[in-house]
Symmetry: C2
Subunit: 336 residues, 2 copies
């Protein structure tokens, strides 16, 4: 891995790799009952998490995830210099209200489901630039808050087509430090918006797959790496259909990542959990990263990980107005 920064390219290589010294994940009951239940820090008993509304529960989930990550290093929120995070809700309210309680200087991001990668990238670049020594990057989503905001009133019980995905109720937070022990962020690729004209809001995976492939292709090109460099290349939440499209595009573009390519949306749920094409939402890739993936890195089972969170950048309004669904994907390299 080269130690220089490549100016002008979409990929930045860090001179001073940032250390993931602690992380945490909190997930909902469905997510906790899936194949990775034992890898999350905390499984909520219900979707309210002791609050009066789902939205307040989501905000609490994010706040507690951040505090839990800090707590693993015996730190308080006041010990963090910067909080970089986002969620799916209008005006980022889950994150804003979490930031209010945490009272850490705060930069809010919106990258739809790509937010976990975006927050890691912004944090890493600011730290590598020498501005901060300790930041928290985080993202969250909540099935019931997203469902009623983006789709239908939850009480309506609208049946979903097989291409649709299940927004994960989950939060992930990473404590990044300039000095410490843990996996390191060594490079990152900032994505461009890619839109192939897909308009079906019940099929986000197809809309995001081309952006994921564009970023992965750019990453390998910028870094001049063989496609078998990473132990695992994992996309954010393409789901089964999006992942299948990505795999076809990999073959077409000659960039099939080996030996292991997977997708957090495919990984999060078992087939019998009713998640249709798979998980989605900022929390999906956030909890898979801050749960099983980083645990496997700590155990040495994964040494080199390319984590690509993917986002569908439409709103209900843009879809009502006939617009297609733009996608974006940001890639983060995490190495032991």
């Amino acid at each position: 891995m080269p130690g220089t920064k490549k100016k002008g390219a979409q990929t930045v290589v860090f001179d001073n790799p940032l250390v993931l010294t602690a992380w945490a994940s909190i997930v909902g009951p469905l997510e906790g009952g899936g194949p990775w239940g034992q890898d999350f820090d905390w499984i909520m008993e219900d979707y309210l998490f002791g609050e009066q509304t789902w939205e307040k529960g989501e905000s609490k989930m994010l706040r507690e995830t951040v505090k839990h990550a800090l707590n693993k290093r015996n730190l308080e929120p006041a010990d963090a210099e910067l909080f970089v995070a986002g969620d799916l809700l209008n005006q980022l309210v889950s994150t804003n209200f979490a930031a209010r309680e945490l009272s850490i200087p705060f930069l809010g991001l919106y990258g739809a489901c790509s937010t976990m990668a975006e927050s890691l990238i912004v944090s890493s670049m600011l730290m590598d630039g020498g501005f901060f020594d300790r930041t928290v990057a985080a993202a969250c989503s909540h099935h019931y808050t997203a469902e009623r905001q983006f789709r239908f009133p939850t009480e309506q019980g609208v049946q979903k087509p097989p291409s649709s995905q299940w927004t994960a109720t989950a939060a992930g937070a990473v404590l990044l430090e300039s000095v410490g022990v843990g996996p390191r962020i060594t490079a990152a690729t900032i994505g461009r918006v890619v839109d192939m004209g897909q308009k079906d809001i019940a099929d986000m995976g197809s809309a995001m797959a081309p952006a994921a492939v564009d970023t992965i292709k750019t990453h390998f090109k910028d870094m001049n790496l063989p496609t078998d460099y990473y132990d695992l290349v994992v996309t954010g939440d393409l789901g089964k259909i999006g992942m299948a499209i990505a795999q076809q595009l990999f073959i077409k573009d000659g960039v099939s990542p080996r030996p292991n390519y997977s997708d957090c949306g495919v990984l999060l749920f078992d087939d019998n959990q009713g998640a249709l094409s798979g998980g989605s939402g900022c929390g999906c890739s956030a909890c898979i990263l801050c749960g099983p993936l980083l645990k496997k890195m700590l155990a040495g089972d994964i040494k080199k990980l390319l984590f690509i969170a993917t986002g569908a950048l439409m709103s209900p309004l843009s879809s009502f107005q006939g617009e297609s669904i733009p996608g974006i994907a940001h890639a983060v390299v995490i190495e032991n």
Copy 2:
């Protein structure tokens, strides 16, 4: 001004001050008819800007503002390495669709009306860190898209209380380069979320004023500067009521900026334009900065500017659920 970075503080000082080599602003008819009409690059004839919907018009306004700023340096979107921007709409659709057309690697931000400062800060830190040589920071808002999203259907013609503000139809974009001629960003202060329990969504200025004062106070303390250091200290969009509260808090806290303190929301409109307490929206501070203020810096009338964009971080849903309005403010130092 010291040349070192202050780690741990909320304020960062740039080793390699970033140059604002070009900027542009596009505003709506009302904004163009105000006191600064001659200082904007382009005044739209109507609020649709040739598009079918206000939202598409807003996205075009942002896109054209970015292209116009680049064009002043004979550059194309492809010449920019990074686009950092945001707006007020759910899921940042105006910005996302502008980013799709511009096809520049993109980081979306949500800081409500504080976005212009947030985008300048993130861009500056990434450039000072050595990752990029040419980025675009931008923000926009549109009166009619914001009105129907945050408040009431525009057709309803709901009468507003005197404390309410008029969301500006405006976009501002700054081209930042690591080498060039122009005013420079020399320091920045990242704000914390401050919430004094104000719940009146028709009075954003009061909700944001404490955050603005907190950031300004922190800035002067971190930088160890006298309160008469800047030629102008200008907040984002507190409006008349918020600005009056800020001035009271300045006196209480002993940090009254001299000789000139003003607010973009107070500046944008004339009293007879029906904007009540003043302008608001990301576009308000963005167009005042990228219109009259930077023009005055170029002319030498302002040499040292402290620009503090302020954001109210609620959503209609958080207000319906009884929450108060959290505020945030980020400060940027621009010097000749």
